[in-house]
Amino acid sequence: MCQDCGCGDREIVPVEVHERLLSGNDRVARHNREHFAAHDVLAINLMGSPGSGKTAILEATARALASRQRLGAVSGDLATDRDAQRLRAAGIPAATITTGSACHLDAEMVHHALHDFALDSLDIFVIENVGNLVCPAIYDLGQTLNVVALSVTEGEDKPLKYPVMFRNAQAVLLTKIDLLPHLGGVSLQMFNEALARVMPEPRTFPVSALTGEGMDRWLEWLEASRPRV
């Protein structure tokens, strides 16, 4: 009650919080990160538009590394199990996180999915996020690295239109480069110039999952990023 004049009005008390609104998510993400680190697993949060080639690159990566690295993956999908089926066909254990109408994965969904994997028997774990260049960008999942797949057919202006996703990425896969000759003057240089305005330290891997072009550099970086045991 108001103590000043006895008017009977309720008192308004300010409570200073000064905390990130997603601190609940961040807490679970930290837990996931500790879990990955304790098992020396490199965790990749793979993001990008629907149809940017996330699953195709992952299939090609799984096949190329089959003899050297043990991969596992979860795919965020609004309604189907198709991506995980494709990844299992490529020889890696994979599960689906069905998000329903949710446009992104959060740390709790990944934490729950991790219970289905024996991290001890994995070297690299890929979290294939829901296809979307906006919403996944602000959710920490506990990954070691954020990687964005951007297909050359999407246009070189996408980094400028969706800067947060690219700013938070450690690497960008420029996919479908086998299609560049058909895109009327679109060049890799144009993508690099746009990325330099949204990423302080741009790192790009131009690749084609179809022809295998550029996969060597990507795989080399991926393997070099693994925690040293």
Partner: protein, 113 residues
């Protein structure tokens, strides 16, 4: 539309604080959302209008303070222009985002009996 899940995180957090302080209602919420945070302030306000009904925030005003995006050279302190390449023209160092990515719950003003 991740603004909806941000609002539900907000309402959860505020309800917990209100319970802890035995508040009967929330009077005002103050957030700080950066220009480069990846959160649309208008959409966030709309989502809040939609979700607050029936909660302890039913009558609470939502104040969102914007924060400008600012990239700075970590070596010489040069401030980069908007839309510029994110490395320092002078020293070639990668720029650092000094502000603009905030998604912060600053303050809850609550009514206590």
């Amino acid at each position: 539309m991740h603004e909806y899940s941000i609002v539900s995180a907000l309402l959860e957090r505020v309800s917990a604080e209100a319970r802890a302080h035995n508040a009967t209602a929330v009077y005002r919420l103050t957030l700080r959302i950066g220009d480069a945070a990846g959160v649309e302030r208008d959409l966030l306000s709309k989502a809040y209008e939609h979700f607050r009904a029936g909660t302890i925030c039913a009558r609470a005003e939502l104040c969102i303070e914007p924060v400008a995006e600012r990239w700075v050279c970590p070596v010489c302190g040069r401030i980069l222009e908007r839309g510029a390449v994110l490395s320092c023209e002078g020293c070639g160092m990668p720029a650092r985002l000094m502000s603009g990515d905030e998604i912060i719950l600053e303050r809850i003003e609550m009514e206590v009996p």
